[in-house]
Symmetry: C2
Subunit: 189 residues, 2 copies
DNA sequence: ATTGAGTAGTCATTTTTATGACTATCATGG
DNA sequence: CCATGATAGTCATAAAAATGACTACTCAAT
Protein backbone atom coordinates (compact mmCIF):
# COMPACT_ATOMS: atom_id res chain seq x y z
CA UNK A 1 0.00 0.00 0.00
CA UNK A 2 2.60 2.51 -1.03
CA UNK A 3 0.99 3.71 -4.22
CA UNK A 4 -1.07 5.91 -1.99
CA UNK A 5 2.04 7.55 -0.61
CA UNK A 6 3.42 8.09 -4.07
CA UNK A 7 0.16 9.81 -4.95
CA UNK A 8 0.27 11.95 -1.83
CA UNK A 9 3.89 12.91 -2.52
CA UNK A 10 3.06 13.78 -6.12
CA UNK A 11 0.17 15.99 -5.01
CA UNK A 12 2.40 18.03 -2.70
CA UNK A 13 3.44 20.23 -5.58
CA UNK A 14 0.01 21.51 -6.31
CA UNK A 15 -3.51 20.45 -7.11
CA UNK A 16 -3.83 17.87 -9.83
CA UNK A 17 -6.67 16.06 -11.50
CA UNK A 18 -6.57 12.31 -11.90
CA UNK A 19 -5.70 12.81 -15.51
CA UNK A 20 -2.87 15.22 -14.76
CA UNK A 21 -1.63 12.86 -12.09
CA UNK A 22 -1.50 10.10 -14.66
CA UNK A 23 0.62 12.39 -16.84
CA UNK A 24 2.90 13.08 -13.91
CA UNK A 25 3.28 9.34 -13.36
CA UNK A 26 4.32 9.10 -16.96
CA UNK A 27 7.18 11.54 -16.56
CA UNK A 28 8.77 12.72 -13.34
CA UNK A 29 7.05 10.39 -10.91
CA UNK A 30 7.84 7.43 -13.16
CA UNK A 31 11.32 7.81 -11.73
CA UNK A 32 10.32 6.14 -8.55
CA UNK A 33 6.85 4.80 -9.04
CA UNK A 34 4.90 3.45 -11.92
CA UNK A 35 1.14 3.11 -12.10
CA UNK A 36 -1.65 2.94 -14.64
CA UNK A 37 -4.22 5.75 -14.82
CA UNK A 38 -6.92 3.36 -13.62
CA UNK A 39 -4.97 2.63 -10.48
CA UNK A 40 -4.55 6.33 -9.82
CA UNK A 41 -8.25 7.09 -10.20
CA UNK A 42 -9.08 4.23 -7.87
CA UNK A 43 -6.49 5.33 -5.35
CA UNK A 44 -7.70 8.94 -5.43
CA UNK A 45 -11.22 7.73 -4.70
CA UNK A 46 -10.00 5.73 -1.72
CA UNK A 47 -7.82 8.58 -0.46
CA UNK A 48 -10.71 10.98 -0.68
CA UNK A 49 -13.00 8.60 1.17
CA UNK A 50 -10.42 8.42 3.96
CA UNK A 51 -10.00 12.18 4.00
CA UNK A 52 -6.31 12.15 3.04
CA UNK A 53 -6.94 14.20 -0.05
CA UNK A 54 -9.76 16.55 -0.95
CA UNK A 55 -11.04 17.33 -4.40
CA UNK A 56 -12.89 20.23 -5.85
CA UNK A 57 -14.88 20.24 -9.02
CA UNK A 58 -13.64 22.55 -11.73
CA UNK A 59 -16.18 23.31 -14.40
CA UNK A 60 -14.56 23.81 -17.77
CA UNK A 61 -15.72 25.26 -21.00
CA UNK A 62 -14.79 23.38 -24.09
CA UNK A 63 -13.63 20.23 -22.34
CA UNK A 64 -14.88 17.81 -19.70
CA UNK A 65 -15.04 19.01 -16.14
CA UNK A 66 -12.38 17.74 -13.81
CA UNK A 67 -11.69 17.34 -10.15
CA UNK A 68 -8.54 18.83 -8.69
CA UNK A 69 -7.14 17.10 -5.64
CA UNK A 70 -4.91 18.38 -2.88
CA UNK A 71 -3.42 16.75 0.20
CA UNK A 72 -5.22 17.45 3.47
CA UNK A 73 -3.67 17.74 6.93
CA UNK A 74 -4.48 14.10 7.74
CA UNK A 75 -2.87 13.26 4.42
CA UNK A 76 0.31 15.07 5.42
CA UNK A 77 0.23 13.24 8.74
CA UNK A 78 -0.06 9.95 6.88
CA UNK A 79 2.98 10.84 4.78
CA UNK A 80 4.81 11.72 7.97
CA UNK A 81 4.02 8.32 9.47
CA UNK A 82 5.05 6.62 6.27
CA UNK A 83 8.36 8.45 6.21
CA UNK A 84 9.07 7.54 9.81
CA UNK A 85 8.55 3.83 9.12
CA UNK A 86 11.61 2.09 7.82
CA UNK A 87 11.70 1.73 4.05
CA UNK A 88 11.70 -1.73 2.71
CA UNK A 89 14.39 -2.18 0.09
CA UNK A 90 13.34 -1.19 -3.40
CA UNK A 91 12.11 -3.98 -5.63
CA UNK A 92 13.86 -4.15 -8.93
CA UNK A 93 12.16 -5.93 -11.76
CA UNK A 94 13.55 -5.66 -15.18
CA UNK A 95 12.69 -8.00 -18.04
CA UNK A 96 15.73 -6.87 -19.95
CA UNK A 97 18.11 -7.93 -17.21
CA UNK A 98 16.48 -11.34 -17.11
CA UNK A 99 17.23 -11.63 -20.80
CA UNK A 100 20.82 -10.58 -20.36
CA UNK A 101 21.20 -13.13 -17.56
CA UNK A 102 20.34 -15.73 -20.20
CA UNK A 103 22.75 -14.16 -22.72
CA UNK A 104 24.26 -16.59 -25.20
CA UNK A 105 21.71 -19.22 -24.42
CA UNK A 106 19.21 -17.11 -26.31
CA UNK A 107 19.29 -15.23 -29.60
CA UNK A 108 21.95 -12.52 -29.45
CA UNK A 109 20.35 -10.43 -32.20
CA UNK A 110 17.15 -9.96 -30.25
CA UNK A 111 19.14 -9.09 -27.17
CA UNK A 112 21.29 -6.51 -28.93
CA UNK A 113 18.21 -4.96 -30.51
CA UNK A 114 16.52 -4.57 -27.15
CA UNK A 115 19.61 -3.23 -25.43
CA UNK A 116 19.99 -0.67 -28.20
CA UNK A 117 16.39 0.35 -27.87
CA UNK A 118 16.71 0.64 -24.12
CA UNK A 119 19.79 2.81 -24.50
CA UNK A 120 17.82 5.15 -26.74
CA UNK A 121 14.94 5.31 -24.30
CA UNK A 122 17.40 6.09 -21.52
CA UNK A 123 18.91 8.90 -23.57
CA UNK A 124 15.46 10.36 -24.20
CA UNK A 125 14.71 10.23 -20.50
CA UNK A 126 17.95 11.96 -19.63
CA UNK A 127 16.97 14.80 -21.93
CA UNK A 128 13.47 14.92 -20.49
CA UNK A 129 14.74 15.01 -16.93
CA UNK A 130 17.28 17.64 -17.91
CA UNK A 131 14.47 19.86 -19.13
CA UNK A 132 12.50 19.14 -15.99
CA UNK A 133 15.46 20.07 -13.80
CA UNK A 134 15.98 23.36 -15.61
CA UNK A 135 12.31 24.16 -15.21
CA UNK A 136 12.39 23.33 -11.52
CA UNK A 137 15.40 25.48 -10.70
CA UNK A 138 14.44 28.38 -12.94
CA UNK A 139 17.32 30.75 -13.57
CA UNK A 140 19.29 29.72 -10.52
CA UNK A 141 22.32 27.47 -10.56
CA UNK A 142 21.80 23.96 -9.27
CA UNK A 143 23.92 24.65 -6.22
CA UNK A 144 22.00 27.79 -5.38
CA UNK A 145 18.65 26.13 -5.89
CA UNK A 146 19.53 23.13 -3.74
CA UNK A 147 20.67 25.44 -0.96
CA UNK A 148 17.87 27.95 -0.96
CA UNK A 149 15.05 26.65 -3.13
CA UNK A 150 11.78 25.79 -1.45
CA UNK A 151 10.67 22.48 -2.99
CA UNK A 152 13.78 20.47 -3.56
CA UNK A 153 12.12 17.04 -3.22
CA UNK A 154 11.18 16.67 -6.87
CA UNK A 155 14.56 18.05 -7.90
CA UNK A 156 16.41 15.47 -5.82
CA UNK A 157 14.41 12.55 -7.16
CA UNK A 158 14.89 13.87 -10.66
CA UNK A 159 18.64 14.06 -10.13
CA UNK A 160 18.59 10.43 -9.24
CA UNK A 161 16.53 9.71 -12.30
CA UNK A 162 19.22 11.29 -14.49
CA UNK A 163 22.01 9.39 -12.76
CA UNK A 164 20.07 6.16 -13.03
CA UNK A 165 19.32 6.54 -16.70
CA UNK A 166 22.87 7.58 -17.46
CA UNK A 167 24.15 4.45 -15.78
CA UNK A 168 21.53 2.42 -17.56
CA UNK A 169 22.49 3.88 -20.90
CA UNK A 170 26.20 3.32 -20.45
CA UNK A 171 25.69 -0.25 -19.33
CA UNK A 172 23.48 -1.04 -22.33
CA UNK A 173 26.02 0.42 -24.74
CA UNK A 174 28.88 -1.46 -23.15
CA UNK A 175 26.93 -4.70 -23.08
CA UNK A 176 26.07 -4.38 -26.76
CA UNK A 177 29.74 -3.78 -27.56
CA UNK A 178 30.76 -6.89 -25.63
CA UNK A 179 28.13 -9.08 -27.25
CA UNK A 180 29.03 -7.83 -30.73
CA UNK A 181 32.71 -8.41 -30.15
CA UNK A 182 32.11 -11.94 -28.96
CA UNK A 183 29.91 -12.62 -31.93
CA UNK A 184 32.63 -11.49 -34.33
CA UNK A 185 35.26 -13.49 -32.51
CA UNK A 186 33.03 -16.53 -32.74
CA UNK A 187 32.36 -15.97 -36.44
CA UNK A 188 36.07 -16.08 -37.23
CA UNK A 189 36.19 -19.74 -36.26
CA UNK B 1 4.29 -13.66 -15.81
CA UNK B 2 7.96 -12.85 -15.89
CA UNK B 3 8.95 -14.37 -12.59
CA UNK B 4 8.97 -17.66 -14.46
CA UNK B 5 11.55 -16.31 -16.87
CA UNK B 6 13.70 -15.02 -14.08
CA UNK B 7 13.59 -18.51 -12.58
CA UNK B 8 14.48 -20.11 -15.89
CA UNK B 9 17.36 -17.68 -16.39
CA UNK B 10 18.63 -18.35 -12.89
CA UNK B 11 18.54 -22.09 -13.46
CA UNK B 12 20.71 -21.83 -16.55
CA UNK B 13 23.83 -21.86 -14.44
CA UNK B 14 23.23 -25.27 -12.99
CA UNK B 15 20.74 -27.35 -11.11
CA UNK B 16 19.30 -25.72 -8.05
CA UNK B 17 16.81 -26.73 -5.41
CA UNK B 18 13.99 -24.39 -4.50
CA UNK B 19 15.86 -23.49 -1.38
CA UNK B 20 19.07 -22.71 -3.25
CA UNK B 21 17.09 -20.73 -5.76
CA UNK B 22 15.67 -18.66 -2.96
CA UNK B 23 19.24 -17.97 -1.80
CA UNK B 24 20.19 -16.96 -5.33
CA UNK B 25 17.24 -14.56 -5.40
CA UNK B 26 18.60 -13.04 -2.21
CA UNK B 27 21.96 -12.21 -3.75
CA UNK B 28 22.83 -12.10 -7.42
CA UNK B 29 19.38 -12.45 -8.91
CA UNK B 30 18.08 -9.78 -6.55
CA UNK B 31 19.80 -7.40 -8.93
CA UNK B 32 17.05 -7.68 -11.41
CA UNK B 33 14.28 -9.62 -9.81
CA UNK B 34 12.97 -10.00 -6.32
CA UNK B 35 10.77 -12.81 -5.05
CA UNK B 36 9.88 -14.59 -1.84
CA UNK B 37 10.81 -18.24 -1.40
CA UNK B 38 7.15 -19.22 -1.42
CA UNK B 39 6.70 -17.66 -4.82
CA UNK B 40 9.68 -19.58 -6.11
CA UNK B 41 8.44 -22.92 -4.86
CA UNK B 42 5.06 -22.24 -6.40
CA UNK B 43 6.61 -21.17 -9.68
CA UNK B 44 8.86 -24.23 -9.80
CA UNK B 45 5.82 -26.44 -9.33
CA UNK B 46 4.03 -24.72 -12.18
CA UNK B 47 7.09 -24.81 -14.43
CA UNK B 48 7.53 -28.49 -13.78
CA UNK B 49 3.89 -29.18 -14.52
CA UNK B 50 4.33 -27.42 -17.86
CA UNK B 51 7.53 -29.28 -18.57
CA UNK B 52 9.76 -26.19 -18.70
CA UNK B 53 11.92 -27.45 -15.90
CA UNK B 54 12.56 -30.95 -14.63
CA UNK B 55 13.48 -31.95 -11.14
CA UNK B 56 15.23 -34.94 -9.70
CA UNK B 57 15.07 -36.07 -6.11
CA UNK B 58 18.35 -36.05 -4.27
CA UNK B 59 18.36 -38.15 -1.14
CA UNK B 60 20.57 -36.69 1.52
CA UNK B 61 21.99 -38.02 4.73
CA UNK B 62 21.90 -35.68 7.65
CA UNK B 63 19.51 -33.20 6.11
CA UNK B 64 16.14 -33.16 4.35
CA UNK B 65 16.02 -34.49 0.82
CA UNK B 66 15.78 -31.94 -1.92
CA UNK B 67 14.76 -31.67 -5.52
CA UNK B 68 17.23 -30.22 -7.98
CA UNK B 69 15.74 -28.51 -10.99
CA UNK B 70 17.16 -27.85 -14.41
CA UNK B 71 15.78 -26.15 -17.51
CA UNK B 72 14.45 -28.47 -20.21
CA UNK B 73 14.52 -27.87 -23.96
CA UNK B 74 10.96 -26.51 -23.96
CA UNK B 75 12.11 -24.27 -21.11
CA UNK B 76 14.93 -22.92 -23.24
CA UNK B 77 12.50 -22.39 -26.09
CA UNK B 78 10.24 -20.45 -23.74
CA UNK B 79 13.17 -18.24 -22.73
CA UNK B 80 13.92 -17.74 -26.40
CA UNK B 81 10.35 -16.61 -27.09
CA UNK B 82 10.47 -14.34 -24.09
CA UNK B 83 13.71 -12.75 -25.24
CA UNK B 84 12.35 -12.17 -28.71
CA UNK B 85 9.29 -10.35 -27.34
CA UNK B 86 9.91 -6.67 -26.73
CA UNK B 87 10.72 -5.87 -23.14
CA UNK B 88 8.30 -3.68 -21.34
CA UNK B 89 10.12 -0.89 -19.54
CA UNK B 90 11.34 -1.78 -16.09
CA UNK B 91 9.05 -0.89 -13.25
CA UNK B 92 10.73 1.14 -10.58
CA UNK B 93 9.20 1.26 -7.16
CA UNK B 94 11.12 2.71 -4.33
CA UNK B 95 9.61 3.80 -1.03
CA UNK B 96 12.67 5.86 -0.24
CA UNK B 97 12.32 7.97 -3.35
CA UNK B 98 8.69 8.64 -2.50
CA UNK B 99 9.89 9.95 0.85
CA UNK B 100 12.52 12.15 -0.74
CA UNK B 101 9.91 13.53 -3.13
CA UNK B 102 8.09 14.73 -0.01
CA UNK B 103 11.33 16.12 1.48
CA UNK B 104 10.91 19.13 3.74
CA UNK B 105 7.23 18.50 4.11
CA UNK B 106 8.11 15.56 6.32
CA UNK B 107 10.57 15.00 9.16
CA UNK B 108 14.11 15.52 7.86
CA UNK B 109 15.70 13.43 10.63
CA UNK B 110 13.84 10.31 9.59
CA UNK B 111 14.72 10.94 5.97
CA UNK B 112 18.41 11.42 6.68
CA UNK B 113 18.45 8.28 8.81
CA UNK B 114 16.94 6.22 6.03
CA UNK B 115 19.17 7.65 3.35
CA UNK B 116 22.18 6.87 5.50
CA UNK B 117 21.01 3.34 6.04
CA UNK B 118 20.36 2.89 2.35
CA UNK B 119 23.85 4.14 1.54
CA UNK B 120 25.29 1.53 3.87
CA UNK B 121 23.22 -1.23 2.34
CA UNK B 122 24.37 -0.11 -1.10
CA UNK B 123 27.99 -0.24 0.02
CA UNK B 124 27.50 -3.76 1.36
CA UNK B 125 25.97 -4.83 -1.92
CA UNK B 126 28.82 -3.36 -3.90
CA UNK B 127 31.22 -5.47 -1.85
CA UNK B 128 29.06 -8.54 -2.27
CA UNK B 129 28.81 -8.09 -6.01
CA UNK B 130 32.53 -7.46 -6.18
CA UNK B 131 33.17 -10.82 -4.56
CA UNK B 132 30.68 -12.46 -6.90
CA UNK B 133 32.37 -10.93 -9.94
CA UNK B 134 35.78 -12.16 -8.83
CA UNK B 135 34.36 -15.62 -8.30
CA UNK B 136 32.72 -15.63 -11.72
CA UNK B 137 35.80 -14.57 -13.65
CA UNK B 138 38.23 -16.70 -11.66
CA UNK B 139 41.83 -15.70 -12.21
CA UNK B 140 41.18 -14.00 -15.52
CA UNK B 141 41.01 -10.25 -15.97
CA UNK B 142 37.58 -8.79 -16.55
CA UNK B 143 38.42 -7.94 -20.14
CA UNK B 144 39.67 -11.42 -20.87
CA UNK B 145 36.70 -13.07 -19.20
CA UNK B 146 34.17 -10.91 -21.06
CA UNK B 147 35.86 -11.76 -24.35
CA UNK B 148 36.38 -15.46 -23.92
CA UNK B 149 34.43 -16.63 -20.87
CA UNK B 150 31.54 -18.99 -21.45
CA UNK B 151 28.73 -17.76 -19.20
CA UNK B 152 28.94 -14.00 -19.22
CA UNK B 153 25.21 -13.38 -18.60
CA UNK B 154 25.43 -13.39 -14.82
CA UNK B 155 28.62 -11.35 -14.99
CA UNK B 156 26.95 -8.66 -17.10
CA UNK B 157 23.92 -8.36 -14.83
CA UNK B 158 26.21 -8.25 -11.85
CA UNK B 159 28.21 -5.43 -13.42
CA UNK B 160 25.04 -3.48 -13.73
CA UNK B 161 24.23 -4.27 -10.12
CA UNK B 162 27.51 -2.72 -9.04
CA UNK B 163 27.00 0.38 -11.17
CA UNK B 164 23.44 0.74 -9.92
CA UNK B 165 24.39 0.45 -6.28
CA UNK B 166 27.31 2.79 -6.70
CA UNK B 167 25.03 5.40 -8.19
CA UNK B 168 22.49 4.73 -5.47
CA UNK B 169 25.12 5.14 -2.78
CA UNK B 170 26.52 8.37 -4.16
CA UNK B 171 23.09 9.89 -4.56
CA UNK B 172 22.11 9.00 -0.99
CA UNK B 173 25.30 10.55 0.38
CA UNK B 174 24.87 13.71 -1.65
CA UNK B 175 21.22 14.03 -0.72
CA UNK B 176 22.04 13.67 2.97
CA UNK B 177 24.69 16.38 2.62
CA UNK B 178 22.22 18.72 0.96
CA UNK B 179 19.51 18.13 3.54
CA UNK B 180 21.97 18.63 6.41
CA UNK B 181 23.31 21.83 4.93
CA UNK B 182 19.83 23.24 4.49
CA UNK B 183 18.96 22.32 8.04
CA UNK B 184 21.97 24.19 9.37
CA UNK B 185 21.26 27.19 7.20
CA UNK B 186 17.71 27.18 8.49
CA UNK B 187 18.82 26.88 12.11
CA UNK B 188 20.90 30.05 11.84
CA UNK B 189 17.76 32.14 11.46
C1' DA C 1 -18.74 14.30 -42.67
C1' DT C 2 -15.97 11.36 -40.37
C1' DT C 3 -11.80 9.89 -38.23
C1' DG C 4 -8.19 10.43 -34.92
C1' DA C 5 -6.15 12.53 -30.97
C1' DG C 6 -6.43 14.72 -26.53
C1' DT C 7 -9.03 15.48 -22.16
C1' DA C 8 -11.37 13.28 -18.19
C1' DG C 9 -12.82 9.45 -16.10
C1' DT C 10 -15.25 4.56 -14.59
C1' DC C 11 -16.08 -0.51 -13.92
C1' DA C 12 -15.14 -5.32 -13.63
C1' DT C 13 -12.01 -8.97 -13.71
C1' DT C 14 -7.78 -11.38 -13.87
C1' DT C 15 -3.03 -11.94 -12.81
C1' DT C 16 0.70 -11.35 -9.91
C1' DT C 17 2.74 -10.63 -5.62
C1' DA C 18 3.04 -10.72 -0.80
C1' DT C 19 2.00 -12.53 3.91
C1' DG C 20 1.30 -15.53 7.63
C1' DA C 21 1.17 -19.87 9.46
C1' DC C 22 2.68 -24.37 9.12
C1' DT C 23 5.81 -29.24 9.07
C1' DA C 24 10.15 -31.63 9.31
C1' DT C 25 15.20 -32.86 10.23
C1' DC C 26 19.94 -31.98 11.67
C1' DA C 27 23.78 -29.55 13.85
C1' DT C 28 25.72 -26.50 17.19
C1' DG C 29 26.26 -23.86 21.31
C1' DG C 30 25.39 -23.12 25.95
C1' DC D 1 18.74 -31.00 27.57
C1' DC D 2 16.95 -27.13 25.22
C1' DA D 3 17.05 -23.33 22.18
C1' DT D 4 18.53 -21.47 17.88
C1' DG D 5 19.53 -21.47 13.15
C1' DA D 6 20.18 -23.72 8.72
C1' DT D 7 18.15 -26.83 5.36
C1' DA D 8 14.00 -28.02 2.63
C1' DG D 9 9.80 -27.26 1.86
C1' DT D 10 3.90 -26.55 1.71
C1' DC D 11 -0.79 -24.32 2.00
C1' DA D 12 -4.15 -20.80 2.12
C1' DT D 13 -5.35 -16.22 1.78
C1' DA D 14 -4.85 -11.25 1.39
C1' DA D 15 -3.27 -7.37 -1.00
C1' DA D 16 -1.67 -5.02 -5.00
C1' DA D 17 -1.20 -4.33 -9.70
C1' DA D 18 -2.36 -4.96 -14.46
C1' DT D 19 -5.78 -5.44 -18.21
C1' DG D 20 -9.66 -4.85 -21.14
C1' DA D 21 -13.69 -2.66 -22.16
C1' DC D 22 -16.28 1.20 -21.54
C1' DT D 23 -18.55 6.53 -21.60
C1' DA D 24 -18.29 11.47 -23.07
C1' DC D 25 -16.84 15.71 -24.92
C1' DT D 26 -13.92 18.81 -28.06
C1' DC D 27 -10.79 20.13 -31.64
C1' DA D 28 -8.31 19.65 -35.87
C1' DA D 29 -7.41 17.57 -40.01
C1' DT D 30 -8.80 14.76 -44.04
Amino acid sequence: MALRHAVLAALLDGELSGYQLAKAFDVGVANFWYAQPQQLYAELTRLEKEGLVAGREVVQESRPNKRLFHVTDPGLAELETFTAASAKPAVVRDDLLVKVQAAERVDTDALVAQLTERAQVARAKIDLFGTLLRRLRGDRTEEDFLRHGDRIGPYLTCLRGVAFEQENHDWCVRTVAILEERRQAHARH
